[in-house]
């Protein structure tokens, strides 16, 4: 409660598992990070690494078979995980909002798009009058580059890019402190993606809003975030300033991700591919879960999970970090 400084969100030792017929599946293990007010954080990793589960956990939108086994999620010093469902409902959209990947599943096909956003605004009492809510939606539409007249249309009359923008407008409708964007542009074409990313960036600063971007596309994350966390098998394995992490990755997994990503500009460097497959979460290898695919693995990697090696706010969970300035912490 006391150390507010400018930290908006603090996730501390979060662990979560799903109960499945095959037994318990540890989807998130000991994830900790902090997000400053007004900054953008990226979470990257391959499918199944737990990045979407972390997001759903922040929104408290977990399926019934999920169980949080440890950790705290402090939003302005208050633990979101301890709130009642009713208290949480009041905070969704108002404090934390989320842009989902599949925009068509978010909008109700039988209501006008504008009406759906007005409903969210009125439910949360952000505007008391219908006219006020309408004006607010018109303003949001202009902000995300949609013609306010489109408020009267139905979702099926929108293209994929327009729907995604409407969903972003909806996520912004109650001036949230934190917006979580889960693969917000993955289904879109590059020109539309580019426009939406620019809009999000332009909107974020004047509103003082924090954003968590979740994506497997490191090019997108490199462009829009200040801080990035790389996830592998349910754990954060590296974290730091986006520029530092992508320019000189310290964890071999991050390095492999970066070097397997094709780019249209610059020298045409050869791509390397990562051997093997992502691990099965219900049957993780002992020690560092990345060791079977890692070129630098030694005996200690096969038996013991690595401690953090850190320098300032930058850290990597690796026995043999590629950046020698990172010092192992006891």
């Amino acid at each position: 409660m006391t150390d507010r400084s400018d930290s908006l969100l603090k996730v501390d030792g979060l662990s979560l598992s799903y109960q499945t017929r095959q037994g318990e599946l540890q989807a998130v293990r000991d994830v900790s990070f902090e997000l400053a007010r007004g900054s953008a954080l990226g979470l990257v990793g391959e499918s199944g690494c737990g990045k979407t589960t972390v997001a759903n956990c922040l929104m408290r939108l977990l399926p019934d078979n999920a169980r949080i086994s440890a950790g705290r999620v402090l939003l302005d010093g208050q633990d979101v995980l301890l709130l009642t469902e009713e208290e949480m409902r009041l905070r969704r959209w108002r404090r934390i909002s989320m842009v989902f990947q599949a925009a068509m599943n978010v909008l109700d096909p039988v209501y006008r798009v504008g009406q759906q956003i007005i409903e969210a605004i009125e439910t949360h009492g952000v505007e008391s009058t219908d006219i006020g809510a309408r004006e607010r939606v018109a303003r949001l539409f202009r902000m995300v580059g949609l013609d306010p007249q489109l408020m009267e249309r139905y979702p099926h009359e929108f293209s994929g890019g327009m729907r995604q923008r409407a969903v972003i407008a909806m996520a912004l409708s109650c001036d949230p402190d934190l917006m979580i964007a889960d693969e917000p542009t993955t289904a879109l074409d590059v020109i539309v993606q580019d426009r939406i990313l620019r809009e999000l960036k332009a909107i974020q600063q004047p509103l003082g809003m924090s954003i968590i971007y979740i994506s497997h596309d490191i090019a997108v994350v490199a462009e829009v975030t200040d801080v990035v966390g790389v996830m592998y098998a349910g754990r954060l394995v590296e974290m730091g300033d986006t520029a530092d992490v992508f320019r000189a990755p310290a964890h071999p997994y991050t390095a492999a991700l970066v070097s397997s990503f094709p780019s249209v500009s610059g020298e045409r460097r050869p791509l390397t591919s990562l051997p093997g497959e992502p691990p099965n979460l219900s049957d993780l290898p002992p020690g560092c879960p990345f060791h079977p695919r890692c070129a630098y693995a030694t005996d200690v990697c096969r038996t013991e999970y690595p401690p953090r090696a850190a320098s300032g706010s930058r850290w990597a969970a690796c026995w043999h970090p590629l950046d020698a300035t990172l010092v192992p912490q006891s």
């Binding site: 780019s263 045409r268 990562l274």
Partner: protein, 357 residues
């Protein structure tokens, strides 16, 4: 990373050169057009047509890989489907010229896939295959990997069971699913996305086609398996002499996979050039916008703003002027009054359809 050595090679310039105008190309597409009717019924004429593919012309050499890039709805997948005859073209020619097979039986007859049908079609189907985007939807979940991969062999009536088993084992090894015997009787749901896409590639290549249409084969895969599938496709192209039409929306992937790239906009090919030439020196305003919109995985990199308005509309009975006119930053009066610009060769091998270049 010593063990991570599967490196996609630079597409070999010699393969690209084999499409030189003097040699016969594998595939010559001329004036290919596909219109989809809108608003018609059983007793009613359609009121209008979507010009999904409109007067597309290109050639493809033996063993060459041509990328077809553009936004969704630009007609790139329709071109791919027309080439494998999953759709019937409204107009134009598709001519294949296959080299004699290894047995020496010269079958160097041009094949107009637009006009062909029946048994001749099936015999030509041996030379042309397709890889689909979604490895989860393109396989029957009830069938085993052996059934899936051996189906082209049985459709073509090639060999007996022992022969087919041998071929399937051989191709499984080639696509890196080893030990091959362990995969034969598994089902698609037991495999990861990357492994499934390898099965899809094996299915397309098991009859040793000369030409494969690959429709976004890596877009549903994770980063780490994507690179593996990309380099596999390149290795097999070299080894088996397959030519690809690589349909993708991702210019960065096309850069690594293709010798040449054709950019499509609203049913038209607007620019065609060798890959690096196109990326370094784009001429068409649409190509420039497309390139500047691609995010770059380097945090220090600052891109230009793409100078383009509006959205890609559906080309329903479009006016005859340049399709890109409404969104074009360089459009002039001339563009408004004249028909869609023809493809012109600006520098050797670099074709572009624009009056203002």
């Amino acid at each position: 990373m010593a063990s991570a050595s599967n490196t996609p090679e630079t597409p070999n310039a010699q393969a690209a050169g084999s499409s030189a105008p003097d040699g016969e190309p594998l595939l010559a597409v001329h004036g290919l057009t596909k219109l989809f009717p809108v608003g018609g019924g059983p007793f009613r004429k359609p009121s209008s047509f979507i010009h999904a593919v409109d007067d597309v012309t290109f050639r493809l050499g033996h063993g060459e890989s041509l990328g077809l890039v553009g936004e969704s709805g630009c007609g790139k997948t329709t071109v791919g489907k027309l080439l494998v005859k999953l759709l019937e073209p409204t107009g134009g020619e598709i001519l294949f010229r296959f080299a004699g097979d290894s047995a020496g039986a010269a079958t160097e007859a041009p094949w107009d896939s637009a006009a062909i049908s029946g048994r001749l079609l099936r015999s030509c189907g041996r030379r042309v295959q397709m890889i689909f985007q979604d490895p989860y939807a393109s396989m029957n979940p009830r069938r085993t990997i052996y059934d899936i991969i051996s189906e082209p062999l049985s459709v073509q009536g090639m060999g007996d069971v022992q022969y087919r088993v041998d071929r399937v084992l051989e191709i499984l090894t080639l696509v890196g699913l080893t030990p091959a015997g362990g995969f034969l009787f598994r089902h698609p749901h037991e495999l990861s996305g990357g492994q499934r896409q390898r099965v899809a590639i094996a299915r397309a290549l098991v009859i040793r086609p000369s030409f494969v249409v690959a429709d976004e084969p890596t877009s549903m895969l994770d980063v780490s398996s994507r690179t593996g599938v990309m380099s596999l496709m390149q290795d097999l192209a070299t080894e088996l002499g397959v030519a690809y039409l690589y349909v993708t929306h991702d210019l960065a992937v096309a850069r690594y996979m293709c010798h040449r790239i054709a950019v499509m906009y609203s049913g038209k090919v607007v620019e065609l050039a060798e890959t690096e030439e196109l990326l370094r020196n784009p001429l068409h305003p649409y190509t420039k916008a497309l390139l500047s919109a691609v995010p770059v995985p380097d945090p220090g990199h600052r891109r230009q703003l793409p100078d383009i308005r509006g959205d890609l509309g559906t080309p329903i009975d479009p006016p005859s002027r340049c399709r890109f006119h409404e969104r074009c930053p360089a459009a002039t009066e001339h563009c408004l009054d004249h028909p869609h610009p023809p493809m012109e060769e600006k520098t050797p091998g670099h074709l572009v359809a624009c009056y203002e270049v």
